[in-house]
């Protein structure tokens, strides 16, 4: 078991290494002087020289890359052009809204989507199934900001149930926190339900055709018990996998949702960085998002073994 976990961790390292290399090369391969790009349009020649010095642009490119990775490993993600603050500090300040939104979305969408997928598979070909499938195609098709603005115009402007924009930390009171994060969560949940319900349905369909499900039915078990104990339990692996895959989707969704609802999170930070071409911030957000993605997938690989004894850690 420990050997398996170590092996998975070792396999994740080259992936992160390539992400770092890609982000590094993206800046170096951009036409023009990397120092000028990092310094922004208003930089003085002295500032440019200082950045050139700190990047060591005169060294061979391999030396530059490994020195940069060394700095990253020590938590040095560079300095924001816009605010002059260390990027790591900016990111730390913006974590809470993003993590809150991601967690509320995952919890809500798993709660809704897994039963939907199970029912759709159980009642395959019926109206309920068609409805779930249409809902899931819709989720892939409607841009998340369109859903967001529909929510605002319906629930904030017409019904006045929720505030249009803004965020309250959970520390200031759970009620207020939930009230303000509700609309962004609903918005993102619609997108995420599409993905989870679809995969749940597909895996359930496969399992419902298996012999042991027929046996369970044949020996007269109630249908609910067949679905829950025999079928759904064996679906846990694909469902967990899709939650992992969906994480990449959720990061993209969070960037957009935060900017619709004006939440001061990482997404908002990224969008502001794009508008001011603050590359160090964008670079750090990419590295962080990819790291989270890789770590989550690592945890999922480990969860497989715990959830499904049929999978050997080989």
């Amino acid at each position: 078991m420990v050997g398996y976990i170590v092996q998975r961790i070792l396999a994740a390292i080259p992936v992160m290494g390539f992400v770092a290399l890609f982000v590094f090369l993206l800046l170096r391969l951009t036409p023009g002087d990397p120092a000028a790009i990092l310094a922004g349009d208003t930089a003085t020649p002295e500032q440019l020289e200082a950045i050139r010095e700190s990047l060591g642009l005169n060294d061979p490119i391999f030396t530059q890359f490994f020195r940069w990775v060394g700095q990253l490993l020590q938590g040095d993600f560079g300095t924001s052009i816009l605010s002059g603050k260390p990027v790591i500090e900016l990111i730390g300040d913006r974590m809470e809204p993003t993590i809150s939104l991601a967690l509320t979305t995952i919890i809500l969408s798993v709660t809704i989507a897994v039963p939907l997928g199970v029912i759709a598979a159980w009642k395959q070909g019926t109206l309920i199934d068609r409805f779930v499938m249409l809902l899931s195609v819709l989720g892939f098709s409607v841009p998340v900001f369109v859903i967001g603005y529909l929510m605002i115009s319906l629930f904030s402007m017409e019904l006045k149930w929720f505030p249009v924009q803004g965020f309250r930390p959970i520390g200031d009171g759970v009620g207020d926190f939930l009230h303000r994060i509700a609309l962004p969560t609903f918005t993102l949940t619609l997108l995420y339900i599409a993905l989870i319900a679809r995969i749940t349905r597909t895996s359930m369909l496969e399992i419902l055709g298996d012999d042991y499900v027929r046996t369970a039915r044949a020996k007269g078990l109630p249908e609910s018990r067949v679905l829950m104990r025999h079928a759904l339990r064996n679906c846990s692996v694909p469902i967990i996998t899709v939650i992992g895959i969906g994480f990449a989707l959720i990061i993209s969704g969070v960037v957009v949702t935060e900017s619709v609802f004006n939440l001061p999170g990482l997404g908002r930070l990224t969008v502001d960085a794009v508008l001011s071409r603050d590359y160090p911030v964008i670079q750090a957000v990419i590295l962080l998002a990819s790291l989270i993605y890789v770590v989550i997938n690592l945890l999922i690989d480990i969860a497989y073994v715990l959830l499904d004894p049929r999978i050997r850690y080989a």
Binding site: P14, V15, M16, G17, F18, V19, L21, F22, V23, L26, L27, T30, P31, I37, L134, V137, L138, F140, S141, V142, P143, V144, F145, V146, Y149, L150, I152, S153, M157, L195, R198, I199, R201, T202, L205, E206, A248, L249, I251, S252, V255, V256, S259, T270, V271, A273, V274, L275, R277, Y279, I282, Q283, V285, I286, A289, S290, Y293, V294
Partner: protein, 296 residues
């Protein structure tokens, strides 16, 4: 000789035209979707003849007007006709969708063939694919646009790059399973050159899945373009694209929600139609995949 083979061949092979008709008529939703797509494509091509107003002319006296007989969907904050801008916006979205699909499929096909066939390339390329897939595609696109500056060309590259790894993986897995087939082994044993084996035996196996994947990429590229423009990381804001129109309408949402919602409706319906068409093509070309439904 050729006559003889023709009589032996099963007559069940449908012509592409019959096949297309069958796919389009497979469900009412797909039929409606296809009609909408054809209308949108035609209106984008013939935009100059259709639109009632110049999409970029500013008429400050007519700003933020509600829908009327002159301005079918109302006007935006600069007094430009919303309907005309949406019709023109289709040009950008469709060009981006089709171009991204073609480039990603061609690049992914070539890289996937190499990875599936040549071991050492596979090892390197798959690490790169894993790395690229770990980066959320919107963030990757945002980074590229913010570095290279916003132009149609940059946006296209930024949207296409994150799609390529998915195609590479698909093609690689198809090639890996096709390689094991006796006819490929026979070709290798007979000493056929690698290039010929790829062209004659491996590529044909990838055609159906790639057509399906291509439609999904087209839909996802249109979605990404809209999101990038909406976030301010898309093409020049003066060019009407669906994302740009919505981005400009954001601050006036409480006065005239239509500036955001009309283009939003159009972009959603178009992407939905492409996805439905993709599903229908998948069901028709690859019944095995349709049963499993595991392609996304």
């Amino acid at each position: 000789m050729s006559d003889q083979t023709a009589t032996i061949a099963p007559p069940a092979r449908m012509s592409p035209l019959v096949r297309t008709r069958e796919i389009v008529l497979s469900s009412p939703l797909v039929t409606v979707g296809t009609i909408i797509l054809v209308l949108v494509v035609l209106s984008a091509i013939f935009a100059a003849w259709i639109v009632p107003h110049d999409p970029v002319r500013l008429t400050p006296s007519q700003r933020l007007k509600p829908p009327s007989e002159t301005y079918w969907l109302g006007t935006d904050a600069f007094g430009r006709d919303l309907f005309s801008r949406i019709v023109y916006g289709g040009q950008i979205s469709l060009v981006v969708g089709v171009a991204a699909a073609i480039v990603a499929v061609v690049a992914g096909l070539m890289l996937g063939l190499l990875a599936g066939y040549i071991r050492w390339i596979d090892a390197v390329l798959m690490r790169m694919v894993d790395g690229l897939m770990a980066i959320p595609s919107i963030l990757l696109a945002i980074a590229i646009v913010s570095l290279w500056g916003a132009s149609l060309w940059t946006v296209l590259v930024a949207i296409t790059i994150p799609e390529v790894p998915r195609v590479v993986r698909l093609v690689r897995s198809l090639v890996l399973s096709a390689r094991e087939e006796p006819y490929v082994e026979a070709a290798i044993a007979a000493g056929s050159p690698t290039f010929l084996i790829m062209r004659r035996h491996l590529v044909p196996n990838t055609v159906a899945p790639l057509i399906i994947q291509g439609t999904y990429i087209c839909a996802s590229a249109i979605l990404t373009e809209a999101i990038l423009s909406f976030l301010g990381a898309g093409i020049n804001p003066e060019t009407p694209s669906w994302g740009n129109i919505m981005a400009e309408g954001r601050i006036y949402f409480q006065i005239n929600p239509g500036i955001v919602l009309w283009p939003g409706l159009v972009v959603s319906v178009v992407i939905l139609s492409i996805n439905l068409l993709g599903d229908a093509v998948r069901d028709a070309l690859d019944p095995r995949m349709a049963k499993r439904g595991l392609e996304r």
